[in-house]
């Protein structure tokens, strides 16, 4: 292969890779910078995956029974029903009471009118599930898991999201308004200090 062709192919490959990675970063940053904050009560525990490492598996769900009344849900078999629910988008509206900042006002196949429409991670019947993987530092995740498991009944756990132009991304999990990362970091430092003193 001639030199010019080598350079052309290598440059094109590099450009495609940087553009794709940059696109991922830009999508997240735009939603975080411009999006509206959404807080949903959640539960969480600490599993791991081979590529991205440890994360908090966050279970944040809201209820919504307002699905297009013309949809013949009763006539659908299980498979069609599952595919139908996969396609739904959710309209979020500020909640008037309760620990969640928003409620799901409506579920539809396409955004229907004005408002904050987002694509949830999943919908099954009336339950709307939001993105649930908060990747964390390898050493902080087990601490976060322990803090979560040992929290009191009164402690309010919320998953913090940002939503913008149909996208919703998770940014943090908070216990009584304090970031789980911050709590895990404090617990780690305290454990290190105690170890040092011991």
């Amino acid at each position: 292969m001639k030199t010019k062709a080598w350079i052309r192919w290598a440059a094109a490959a590099l450009a495609v890779q940087l553009a794709a990675l940059g696109w991922l970063v830009a999508c997240y940053e735009l939603v975080v910078q411009k999006g509206e904050e959404v807080r949903i009560p959640c539960g969480a525990f600490d599993p791991s995956e081979p590529l991205r490492g440890r994360y908090l598996s966050v279970r944040a769900e809201l209820e919504c029974r307002d699905i297009d009344p013309d949809t013949p849900l009763d006539e659908m078999d299980w498979k069609t029903r599952r595919q139908f629910f996969r396609k739904l988008v959710a309209k979020l509206e500020p909640a008037e009471d309760g620990p969640a900042s928003h409620r799901v006002a409506r579920l539809a196949l396409h955004p229907d009118g004005e408002g904050l429409w987002v694509k949830p991670a999943g919908v099954w019947e009336s339950r709307v599930r939001f993105p649930g993987k908060l990747f964390m530092d390898e050493r902080l995740a087990p601490q976060a898991d322990r803090i979560f498991a040992g929290r009191g009944e009164e402690t309010e756990a919320v998953a913090v999201y940002r939503a913008w132009k149909g996208k919703i991304v998770i940014t943090d999990v908070e216990l009584d308004g304090v970031s789980i990362r911050e709590l895990a970091r404090r617990a780690r430092d305290e454990a290190a200090e105690a170890g040092g003193e011991g």
Partner: protein
């Protein structure tokens, strides 16, 4: 026997038989003694693996302070290896250093850089839900680089990526599982077709060799995976390793039958691939897992000894690296601080380079005798 020793012996034989005179023989010897500025595959692999270990060590040192970095710093860490590999390839291409000796390790490094970059970005920016999606993203993103540098080893490894993606997707079920099952069946079939095409159209060459390698790998790694997924009865997960070791052995036997070295290389790669996950943490009652770990360790040592015995750097490095992985994997899973892990990994990388340096010197000394 390497090519240089072979040609030296041949020239001596020609001279003895009177096919060439003394002057021509000297000129020929000088030509083939001076020409090889090329590095052997073994040294190339050692360079890449050594760099890989040192890179892991650096990552471990960075990971020790990972939570202190912000999103911007992590993004810079993710982009840097991709930019460096792409930049280096452009630089080599501009200087017309596009031989396999340069571009093969470059392809492996670039592939690893893309995988690492995509993984760090996905982790930092909470991107994607499924592992299969990320695997496909990495595979699609890495392919243009592999095409650009014409890297055969990396292309063969890429086949594994595609197979793993197809298996994960098929296992997850759903609509795209049909595509995944198609890909699983298609990879061996397509590689066989590509091989046939390459043999008919181009004869022996780089493309034929890479097609053969991909085919060997697709059969040796792909078929056991299909067997595991499609088997109507359940076998214990731990026995999956036996399937892979068996397939690797069968591929080695095929090499004897067909006479193509690419099959043996594919078999070795699959056996290494089967051995790599045995380093996973053991739990109570994991006797079988421990047995496969011991088999893997024995296989690694066998490869290394075979490498020294045959003066084959490729096998020596593959065995050494596998043994290092199995031992260091257990070490890294321990509670030792990350800083210590980083230093040990860097030391292992340097030791691998030193081992190769010793092997090369030994080879030169023997050649001189």
């Amino acid at each position: 026997m390497d090519k240089r020793t072979w040609i030296k012996n041949e020239i001596a034989a020609w001279r003895a038989e009177g096919l060439v005179d003394a002057a021509t023989a000297e000129r020929l010897e000088a030509r083939y003694a001076a020409a090889p500025g090329r590095l052997s595959w073994g040294i190339l692999l050692a360079g890449v693996f050594g760099a890989f270990l040192v890179g892991l060590g650096v990552i471990a040192l960075v990971a020790a302070n990972w939570d202190a970095f912000g999103r911007a710093a992590r993004t810079a860490v993710a982009f840097a290896p991709v930019v460096l590999c792409g930049g280096a390839t452009l630089l080599f291409a501009a200087k017309e250093k596009t031989s396999a000796a340069v571009m093969e390790p470059m392809g492996v490094l670039w592939f690893a850089a893309v995988a690492a970059g995509a993984t760090i970005v996905a982790q930092t920016y909470q991107v994607g839900d499924s592992v299969a999606g990320l695997l496909l993203f990495i595979a699609v993103l890495a392919y243009p680089a592999l095409f650009a540098v014409r890297a055969r080893v990396a292309t063969v490894v890429w086949t594994v990526f595609a197979i793993v993606w197809a298996c994960v997707k098929a296992d997850e079920g759903g609509k795209s599982a049909v595509l995944a099952w198609g890909a699983l069946g298609g990879i061996p079939a397509l590689s066989a077709a590509a091989w046939t095409w390459a043999v008919r159209c181009r004869g022996e060459g780089a493309l034929t060799a890479s097609c053969r390698g991909a085919m060997g790998l697709a059969w040796a790694a792909g078929l056991p995976l299909v067997a595991v997924l499609a088997m109507p009865w359940h076998i214990g997960d731990d026995w999956h390793w036996a399937l892979f070791f068996g397939a690797a052995l069968a591929t080695g036997v095929l090499e004897r039958w067909t006479g193509h070295k690419a099959w043996s290389v594919a078999g070795t790669l699959v056996a290494i691939g089967a051995a790599v996950p045995t380093v996973a943490p053991w739990h109570h009652g994991d006797g079988l897992v421990f047995l496969f770990y011991c088999i893997s360790l024995a296989y690694a040592l066998f490869l290394a000894v075979q490498g020294v015995w045959r003066r084959n750097l490729w096998r020596l490095n593959a065995g050494t690296l596998l043994a290092a992985w199995l031992v260091l994997g257990k070490f890294c899973g321990s509670d030792v601080p990350f800083t210590v892990k980083g230093v040990v990994l860097i030391a292992a990388g340097v030791a691998l380079w030193a081992l190769n340096f010793w092997m090369v010197r030994l080879g030169k000394r023997e050649a001189a005798k």
